[in-house]
Subunit: 406 residues, 2 copies
Amino acid sequence: MSNIIRFLACTLLVSGSARAAGSEGSAELLFSLFWVVLAATLCGALAGRLGIPAVVGQVGAGLLIGPGLLNLVQPGEVLRSLAELGAVFLLFMVGLETRFRDLLAVGKEALAVALLGIALPLGLGLAFGLWQNQGLLTALFLGTALVATSVGITAKVLQELGLLDARFAQIILGAAIIDDILGLTLLAVVGGLGAGEDVGPGKVALILGLSLGFVALVLTLGLPLIRRFESRLRGLSLARMFNVAVVVGLGVAALSTVAGLAPIIGAFLAGMVLAEVKDELEFESKVHALEAFLAPIFFVVVGLQVDLSVLGSAAVLVSGGVLTLLAVAGKLLGGVLGARSLGPGAWLVGVGMVPRGEVGLIVASLGLAAGIITGPVYAQVLLMVLLTTVLAPLVLRVLARRLPAA
Amino acid sequence: MSNIIRFLACTLLVSGSARAAGSEGSAELLFSLFWVVLAATLCGALAGRLGIPAVVGQVGAGLLIGPGLLNLVQPGEVLRSLAELGAVFLLFMVGLETRFRDLLAVGKEALAVALLGIALPLGLGLAFGLWQNQGLLTALFLGTALVATSVGITAKVLQELGLLDARFAQIILGAAIIDDILGLTLLAVVGGLGAGEDVGPGKVALILGLSLGFVALVLTLGLPLIRRFESRLRGLSLARMFNVAVVVGLGVAALSTVAGLAPIIGAFLAGMVLAEVKDELEFESKVHALEAFLAPIFFVVVGLQVDLSVLGSAAVLVSGGVLTLLAVAGKLLGGVLGARSLGPGAWLVGVGMVPRGEVGLIVASLGLAAGIITGPVYAQVLLMVLLTTVLAPLVLRVLARRLPAA
């Protein structure tokens, strides 16, 4: 007891921040957020001057202030949650700028891009793992880490360039949804195999059915519902409509996790449903302000999570470099082949599918925690994530300016 | 290890939300946030229909969905952090609507209100504790819990009524800053005594000097600095200026915790400094959107933290009721006497100082954790917090509409 009191007294007298609710944690969070937003602002502005996408600057900002370099910020639970909210609001915003019928119009291409963009990286990663003399399960995990596109990175770059409504951008968005559904199913299967479970076709069908069913449900129920209540929504004040939009976005994002999907997919779907009435209702600018605060936190935290110190050895750099080449080749080929009807614009799709961002990190962390992959393999994935996340936006921007956006 | 894998597999296969970064936590947070924002929106709208302040509806929303009633949401670390960010952005916003010279003009009244509003509740709480046969230290803690005004509650009500720039509102804001400085010093002294430490006048002077020095520093350095960089700031885009504003707000809020102040005080000061250039730069609407999302979370979380189940016994209701009367009487008298130059408007100041909100909760929780106060005393404080937080805004609104705002 006296220790508690002494601890309390120390907190009170030394830091003096007793009233700041959970004192130390609160001060720490505010400082972390301060550094994150400051670094994002400065590096984002610098990126603008250099003519490169702001997201690249922001991921770089995370590397800079993270544990590997300046060590100003350690990504804790609250910061990670804010980052995830950032991704959710980013995709919600992207959904608000997307029309379902435009997405449907590129459905065939999106499906082809998604399927090829899963099969090729999975196969290449698996082969590379086996060639490295990893076990089958480890090699499968490595392949799985190559599968999932981080659509947030690409979407932000396209938004910055004002190209979100281009046909190739719609293909990327559509492919990202399918990619998420199939990629998650794959992760469930590989994870199940890792746990020595009996992952039969029944279970796979269940997981797949749940995800697909959820997407279908949101769209088939959401679109008529929003039209049905359109006149009522039109009667709401701007402030109230903003609240309703946030409630819908958060609600669908939360529900999508129950269906086995990433919350960003739910947020995107919710945004797309609300886009049907958006033109009549001016709440988008308020959602945009939220996104403008939270999304940079997401990009910086992606950088924060890449621990540069594990990339030190030459072996990691070489094999991580090869892994990166395979990761790029798989998605690029998938995009170019799947969207070949676009002509040269198919290259934009391919490059847009390349960034792995946070998703690759999560797969790698899960594999590491479960002992399925080792430290060096984890480091390879980290390097692959870093390079694809930073390089793809650079190439995408250059390419988008040169190619006619089909 | 096999347990980890089994756990992993369960997470993957059952909830399927593996890609949702820290999966379960992330889904839980999204659901919590969904309920919080939904309840805040519905109860806020209901409050509007009933003609009562939205904050009352939002605190009520927290009670409703909290552990005591529907048990839909448990306030975890992330939700508390978001709530605190809400308070920070709320006071930042209030600062943006405050001119330093207006605050300075009511300095004498604000000081009088703050000093009386600390001395009277402290004395009454102390006397009540001793009368209840509590030890001196417990009685002191009880008095300390009565001291601190929750300025966020009152500020929001005044903002809703469009009265933030009234003279009485400026007195409340000024008094709240002084209240915070002195209240924190008091808490440090009482906490130190509780730890059996030697709290001499030197230490008290140090704590007090640090807080006062910080406020003086921010104002004397901040105001000339902002004018010096005014033309540069004017050259920034809206998006960039929003970033700069957020960086400044978070930075000063974080630093204020180092000086022993609550972060909301730093945020308020930062807002007031930025207010000097606000008219030329339209970033306020973006800050407002952030505040519109986060501040309701703060009010709901205040309600969430009041565990209604501990208020069950008649003894707690009676002694908590008496404590509430003393809490109201102390601040009311302090306001009426301190701001008597306002005439009848002084009553507005008195009522505006009444809500204790989150601050009383923090003092009570610290006391409970350190074993200085017992469960029943904690429950009394909880009831006092609840009643002052809910009733003061109701009375303030009615009074503000009848009295000429001096």
